[in-house]
């Protein structure tokens, strides 16, 4: 149901922006899509409300067998990736990626900072060497360099 609400908000925003498109067709297609999404999302919300009981039964039956989940550590990792993307042009790819992968490995449950950082910095340096050296990808070197 949360996704339906998100879709309604995004579609409404898309339609609102599409009203200001100067060309007739440029706005027609996204507007039609936006209203179709809003309509179907509302329908889906109703469907979910009416079938809530059935869903509950289903969850009890199947149990939570999913071995991967989005928890506190996932949220922390997502924030770290966001910060990393801001910091990468400043710190450079190798240094910032080394820090990110060390944090990621710790969040995944790897014991020992030394082991995590050795892998993190080592793998970052390897990737940098392959992509920058062989494939000519201009990975950020950072202003520190």
């Amino acid at each position: 149901m949360i996704v339906d609400f998100i879709l309604i908000v995004i579609s409404f925003f898309a339609w609102w922006l599409a009203r200001y498109f100067p060309n007739d067709w440029a706005g027609v297609f996204p507007s039609c899509l936006a209203w179709s999404i809003i309509g179907l999302a509302i329908l889906d919300i109703f469907c979910e409300i009416f079938s809530k009981k059935n869903n509950r039964d289903e969850i009890v039956e199947t149990g939570d067998s999913n071995e991967e989940y989005f928890g506190k550590n996932s949220l922390l990792l997502a924030i770290c990736v966001g910060v990393y993307l801001f910091m990468m042009p400043i710190l450079g790819f190798v240094f910032s990626s080394g820090i990110l992968s060390t944090i990621a490995l710790k969040l995944y449950g790897v014991s020992g900072y030394l082991r995590a950082s050795a892998f993190g910095f080592g793998f970052s340096a390897l990737i940098y060497a392959v992509f920058s050296g062989i494939m000519n990808v201009a990975l950020p070197v950072g202003i520190l360099n």
């Binding site: 599409a18 996932s74 992968s101 892998f119 990975l139």
Partner: protein
């Protein structure tokens, strides 16, 4: 005739020919396995190296590279849920699930065998039916291309695992996202918020990496075991007789479908892979568990993909029209060597055409052999601690998104779509319709508009073109059949 055969033999029996072919296939497999390197990018990267070569060597290098890249993308898709190329994204649905069950060797060997079956079908279609198919392909106008894009989206929606409504919503969301960028008919930039990098639309590779790889890296593992379950495999692993028998009809059907889709100008291997997966899932038997490690799922995608690579050469060789971006680069390579692809190619350069046909076959066989030999090594990677693999995948996803255009904005796109992927997985929204609608959105919109303009802004354009009408009718039938099937299941 003797001179003709002599010329072909002279072309394909040189050491240089085989060296360029092997180098092309091997580098294709490696480049395809790197997230962020698409077949187009790989071929474009290598083209400058062919400037000093003869036509036969350069064609063997590029064809080997093209086929290698397309298959190579499936290896990380199965091992790490990270598709190397957009076409490989469909391999994840069953391939990654098989990997999670410890059946990596089985998944990879089925992929390799399906690849060669599809490749043989595609090559046979290319050699024997190219002139006939090209006549139909020439009739493909905006209405037909719109119908084909709609067919892909409708079929993938109708086989959604969750509710049909969620599938439709997911596809519509994908279509809405595909509106980002410059509207091709009027040139008006839509939803770019001043970012010029979005003028061409959202790049697919970062979106794919985000939806599958980044979202997977953001999720934590509940289980205490840190090792992946891996069943040991032999040096050259082949699928069991049972698996082969079980998947062979799907390989055949998907091969034919892939070759036909590939031969239509404008339709690429990603469409062939998704449509073939959807069609196979639609016709699944009761025991088939598509999406839960079904060998037929891998067979459908891999067979269609490799058949499509051969099929894409049909409009290129017989009409001179490139079927997709990779074949457009191949046209450039032909012209660079003073050869104009098209109907006259068969008359003026018959031995060269036959050499190309032989190269297509040899390249597929080489990819198959290399793929089989790499199964054991691929499974060895999985014996590492999966927490380190996850950390490595996260870094590779970042660099793979960046490498596409040397642009940090693409990494942001991958990150945002990573979060969208997590949300979609948590609330059971199917990813496949979203993805295919995003890939086909622009094609559908532009061709819909063009077809309407040709009929003076009338929606009746569909009824004026029998091919488009047939394609759309089949799509509607698919959808109705799926709806009825679901309603019956609910009644039970």
């Amino acid at each position: 005739m003797e001179a003709f055969l002599g010329e072909i033999l002279a072309n394909i029996t040189t050491v240089q020919y085989w060296i360029t072919l092997v180098v092309g296939v091997c580098s294709g497999l490696i480049l395809g396995a790197i997230p962020g390197v698409s077949a187009t990018m790989a071929v474009a990267l290598i083209v400058p190296f062919t400037f000093g070569m003869g036509i036969v060597q350069s064609i063997s290098l590029l064809i080997g590279l093209f086929f290698g890249t397309i298959y190579g993308g499936s290896i990380p898709a199965i091992l790490f849920k990270t598709p190397g190329t957009p076409a490989s994204a469909a391999t994840i649905f069953d391939g990654y699930t098989m990997m999670k069950k410890g059946e990596t060797g089985r998944a990879l060997s089925i992929a390799a065998v399906s690849m060669i079956v599809g490749a043989l079908i595609g090559t046979a279609v290319l050699v024997f039916f190219a002139p006939y198919i090209s006549v139909v392909a020439l009739k493909f106008g905006p209405a037909e291309l719109f119908a084909m894009a709609s067919f892909g989206i409708i079929v993938i929606v109708s086989v959604s695992d969750t509710s049909l409504l969620k599938g439709i919503l997911s596809a519509l969301a994908g279509l809405l996202v595909s509106c980002i960028g410059m509207e091709q008919m009027s040139g008006y930039p839509r939803y770019i918020f001043g970012m010029t990098g979005l003028m061409e639309g959202l790049p697919f590779i970062p979106v794919l990496i985000g939806l599958f790889a980044v979202s997977g890296a953001l999720l934590m593992n509940r289980e205490t075991s840190t090792k992946n379950e891996v069943v040991d495999v032999g040096f050259c692993e082949l699928p069991s007789k049972k698996d082969f028998k079980h998947s062979f009809p799907t390989m055949l059907k998907s091969g034919i479908l892939g070759a036909l889709i590939g031969s239509a100008p404008g339709a690429g291997c990603d469409i062939a892979a998704f449509v073939s997966y959807a069609v196979s899932k639609h016709g699944a038997k009761k025991d088939d568990k598509f999406g839960d490690g079904e060998p037929k799922g891998i067979a459908a995608v891999e067979s269609a993909k490799s058949a499509c690579t051969s099929g894409a050469l049909i409009p290129l060789l017989s009409l001179g029209i490139p079927g997709d971006a990779v074949t457009a680069i191949l046209v450039g390579a032909f012209i660079l060597h003073g050869i104009q692809p098209g109907p006259l190619l068969f008359e003026n350069h018959a031995p060269l055409v036959s050499t190309i046909f032989a190269t297509v076959l040899f390249a597929h066989i080489l990819v198959f052999v290399t793929a089989l030999l790499s199964v054991k090594w691929s499974t060895l990677i999985l014996k590492l601690d999966q927490r380190y693999i996850k950390g490595g995948v996260l870094l590779l996803s970042i660099v793979g998104s960046f490498a596409l255009r040397n642009n940090l904005a693409d990494v942001w796109i991958a990150f945002i779509f990573g979060i969208i992927g997590v949300v979609m997985e948590k609330w059971k929204f199917p990813v496949a319709p979203f993805l295919l609608a995003l890939i086909l959105g622009q094609m559908a919109e532009v061709n819909f508009r063009r077809a309407m303009m040709l009929q003076e802004d009338s929606l009746t354009f569909i009824f004026h073109t029998p091919i488009a009408l047939s394609i759309l009718s089949v799509a509607v039938l698919f959808f109705m059949f799926s709806l009825v099937k679901r309603l019956r299941r609910r009644q039970k």
